[in-house]
């Protein structure tokens, strides 16, 4: 720990120009750390400070930040996470994604709270950071490899003690929803892999050289023991026992499983893709990220015997969204996405959109039909190789719809260019609001407003003031959890989240933080993202949902028809703006248009 820094921090970021390997240390004043914490909060601050306004996300001068948090390195369960923050090539706005495991630990213990990459290397490059020393090396041997292969190769080349985050071939090719991965976990959304690829950086390797101490080590240890015990309770039993795949049947029963590009919300093939079925037919093992007691990852074997990490979002995006109920096809598609290094949600969403285009005659591709596993896999292959429809689909659904034209944009299921995750907005009105207004786009991580919809305490089909409160609360909680950082799967174990998080943060940093301060911090982080987006060209029309959700009713299994009218959505958005202290156009009052 730097002498003047609070516990858990080094008080500095390392800015690396990958054009020549030069570096500079950026001091991070305590005020900045306390106001933005770490993770996505600090990342937003760094991007605002270091990113030239209006920069092309794939330009050399566009920064990409790997940001750690005060909790990384403590024994607090699920704290070994890092955020990656950049301007998204998919949305043109801010994107931030979390990944987990040893890269977070070693990255922070290089002695920095963040590593920021700018510039563009002359050719395929690995950036290796050991303490303050940075070495660029030739990555031509890894170019074209999957992220997992590249990770193994770089580690073998560099030797013991290195942790590696890498992109796959899609990031090299500039697919706008390419991921960045480490240890099988992905910073998945918004095209961070394409940003790294635009810098000709295949991999970033980190090596620990120092230690960091919390302010109250015994206190943190006691809190960690308590949190670990609670993490094994009923609040996490769903993800521990079945993983997020447990949502498949549950969401189908709730009429909220996106089906055939959101034309329906109940999938007749859901049972074949459910965790309960797959677990018996495809031997499953569990895995955990580093420093995690929950172990939500469930790995299934495909017919070739290969382990595939499956999540609910894979199944909803590559399965029901594409009308594919063949589990082998969905397992293979998930595996293909991992190999290519692409976001399963955006990949599935874009392919489902293309399937609808093909069925409507807007795209000339007779092979591309809902329900075809072969078509799904071919589309992924073409995205990976840049052949056939690949260049079009690599743009994501919004930009591709602008190319295809017709009315295809009305059924491109995206917000701000980011494809919707596996939640039907017409049956989850709080989530509909959350996805409409969130800075990152259609987002289920920075806005977990589905918690409100499924709380049983409001009518999820009649959005109103309670839904606004739920969406705001969800964003605030995520802003703190994603900045401290703790895994969102822990959120159910906290009875008084802000107060309990304040205690943890105080133990680590030595600050006297309370719940009110953390609530203020959450609001600050949410608004900082909005301010960044405003600077980069956000307009009020970006806080909206596609026509499909506002003009087409859904029939539920009960026989009841439900809808989300534009008036209801507008009313909720205005309520959200008011709750955030924004004017009626979503801008802070001081911002002039």
């Amino acid at each position: 720990m730097a002498d003047s820094s609070p516990g858990g921090y080094f008080g500095r970021a390392l800015v690396i120009d990958v054009s020549d390997g030069s570096t500079r240390v950026l001091p991070l004043p305590e005020r900045v750390l306390r106001e933005h914490l770490g993770g996505v909060g600090l990342g937003t601050w760094l991007l605002t400070e270091l990113g030239p306004p209006g920069v092309d996300p794939l330009a050399p001068e566009a920064p990409i930040a790997f940001v750690f948090s005060p909790l990384v390195g403590t024994p607090l369960t699920t704290s070994a996470k890092f955020a990656v923050v950049a301007k998204s090539p998919l949305t043109g706005l801010l994107t931030d994604a979390l990944a987990s495991s040893h890269f977070a630990l070693s990255g922070k213990l290089t002695g920095h709270d963040a590593l920021v990459l700018v510039g563009r290397a002359a050719g395929p490059t690995t950036v290796a950071v050991r303490g303050g020393q940075v070495e660029l090396s030739d990555a031509r041997a890894e170019w074209g490899a999957s992220s997992a292969q590249a990770e193994a190769s770089v580690r073998a080349r560099l030797g013991g003690g290195w942790q590696v985050a890498s992109i796959g071939p899609a990031g090299e090719r500039g697919v706008r929803y390419a991921t960045l991965s480490h240890d099988g976990r992905h910073a998945g959304r918004g095209g961070l892999g394409a940003v790294l690829g635009s810098k000709n950086v295949k991999a970033v390797a980190v090596h620990a050289t120092t230690k960091v101490a919390p302010a109250d080590a015994p206190g943190v240890l006691a809190a960690a023991r308590d949190l670990r015990t609670r993490s094994l309770g009923r609040a996490t039993s769903k993800v521990r026992e079945l993983g997020t795949m447990a949502n498949v049947l549950a969401y189908n029963a709730l009429s909220t499983l996106p089906t055939r590009n959101f034309s329906e919300a109940v999938f007749e093939g859901a049972a074949a893709l459910a965790a309960e079925e797959l677990a018996s037919a495809h031997a499953v093992t569990r895995a955990s990220c580093a420093s995690c007691s929950i172990g939500c990852s469930h790995l299934y074997r495909d017919k070739g015997g290969r382990s595939v990490r499956m999540e609910y979002q894979n199944v909803s995006s590559l399965g029901s969204m594409c009308g594919v109920s063949d589990p082998e096809a969905v397992l293979a598609a998930s595996s293909r996405c991992d190999d290519l290094g692409i976001d399963t949600i955006s990949a599935g969403g874009t392919i489902a959109w293309a399937m609808e285009c093909a069925e409507r005659g807007l795209i000339d591709a007779a092979w591309l039909r809902f329900g075809s596993g072969a078509a799904l896999l071919r589309a992924l292959d073409e995205i990976g190789t840049g052949t056939g429809l690949g260049p079009l689909l690599s743009l994501g659904s919004r930009a591709a719809a602008e190319v295809v034209g017709g009315d295809s944009l009305t059924f491109a299921a995206q917000v701000k260019g980011l494809e919707l995750p596996g939640y039907e907005p017409r049956t989850m009105h709080a989530m509909a609001l959350g996805m409409a207004v969130n800075a990152r786009g259609a987002d289920h991580n920075r806005s977990g407003a589905y918690d409100a919809d499924l709380s049983g305490e409001l009518d999820r089909l009649r959005g109103g003031d309670a839904h606004v409160r739920g969406a705001v609360e969800s964003e605030d909680r995520a802003a703190v959890m994603d900045s401290m950082i703790l895994c969102s799967f822990l959120r159910g174990v906290f009875d008084e989240p802000f107060a309990e998080w304040a205690v943890l943060l105080s133990l680590v940093t030595g600050w006297d933080v309370d719940a009110d301060e953390l609530r203020t911090t959450a609001q600050r982080i949410v608004l900082a993202k909005r301010a960044y987006n405003l600077r980069e060209g956000w307009t009020p029309e970006d806080d909206w949902l596609p026509e499909r959700f506002l003009e087409t009713d859904l029939t539920l299994a009960s026989g009841r028809t439900t809808s989300l009218t534009p008036q209801r959505l507008r009313s909720m958005i205005l309520g959200y703006y008011a709750a955030r202290g924004l004017d009626g156009s979503g801008r802070p009052p001081s911002v002039q248009t």
């Binding site: 029963a253 049983g456 409001l458 009649r462």
Partner: protein, 281 residues
């Protein structure tokens, strides 16, 4: 503007029952809680309970609005006028019912409100009797209803003279397969006006519903298969498969509402899916 809302009239004197009908037990819940919950399941707009001034009410589902009659003892037309007035500008029509219809089925409500666009009033006729307190009214009738009350013309029937009315007889109602499948006898309009009527309705077998378990509840050792049980409430259905509705459990009813409210009313034909709470991923 939404198509259909709901109004429950609870301000009557219950003189033939001899006590407040709203508070009467209904298999672990109350008559009012049950009827408001059933009506909520059948309409897509707000739900209003109109009570006598200051009347004490049992617990209600979340989101229900309570308004007062301006005066006591003026009959259902006054309550109807108040309820419709509250809904003007918020919904085109409202299904209006009394609190003594514990067998009201959401499918009946949906069938009646489906025709709301055809006339000001959609009036079921069952067993040769008009059912003005299980009918749909345009909210635009609020003014006419209030005027009739001010003129001491307190029968709901007077409103029909000033409105367009579509009558739905039994064959028309039962032509709807969704309704005929779950309420072939049109028990939806069976009222409990007296102790004897209440006892007779209460003695009927509780509705037959299907319960299934998913997710970690199954992994926890409970039987995943579908169970056919008799239960009037969600809490009772869950208990029948040894599940306690706490914050870790959520129920979906027919893919419609998500609830963990033990008093959530169930009706014949319901499919209840019990799952682990906690969304995300």
């Amino acid at each position: 503007m939404l198509e259909s809302a709901g109004v429950v009239l609870v301000g009557g004197r219950s003189s033939r029952m001899g006590r407040s009908k709203a508070d009467l037990d209904w298999h672990g819940s109350t008559m009012l809680r049950r009827v408001t919950g059933l009506l909520q399941r059948g309409v897509d707009g707000p739900l209003i309970v109109v009570r006598a001034p200051g009347q004490s009410l049992p617990g209600l589902p979340p989101g229900v609005e309570v308004v007062d009659d301006p005066a006591e003892g003026r009959g259902p037309l006054q309550g109807l006028a108040v309820g419709l007035a509250v809904l003007q500008g918020r919904a085109r029509s409202a299904f209006v019912c009394a609190t003594d219809l514990p067998l009201l089925h959401p499918a009946f409500v949906r069938r009646v409100t489906r025709d709301a666009g055809l006339a000001d009033v959609v009036l079921p006729v069952v067993g040769g009797h008009r059912q003005p307190l299980a009918a749909s009214y345009a909210t635009s009738l609020a003014g006419a209803a209030a005027r009739l009350v001010s003129e001491d013309r307190l029968k709901v029937g007077f409103l029909f003279d000033e409105a367009t009315v579509v009558r739905l007889d039994e064959p028309q109602l039962l032509a709807d397969p969704a309704l005929s499948a779950v309420d072939p006898g049109l028990a939806s309009v069976s009222g409990a006006n007296t102790v004897e009527e209440y006892d007779a309705l209460h003695a009927q077998p509780e509705p037959e519903v299907t319960v299934e378990l998913s997710g970690a509840l199954v992994a926890g050792g409970l039987d995943r298969g579908r169970h056919t049980v008799r239960a009037s409430t969600l809490g009772s259905a869950a208990a029948s498969v040894s599940v306690h509705l706490d914050r870790h459990v959520l129920a979906a009813v027919n893919g419609d509402q998500a609830s963990r409210d033990p008093e959530f009313p169930l009706v014949r034909g319901d499919l209840v899916t019990l799952m682990s709470a906690g969304a995300g991923g």
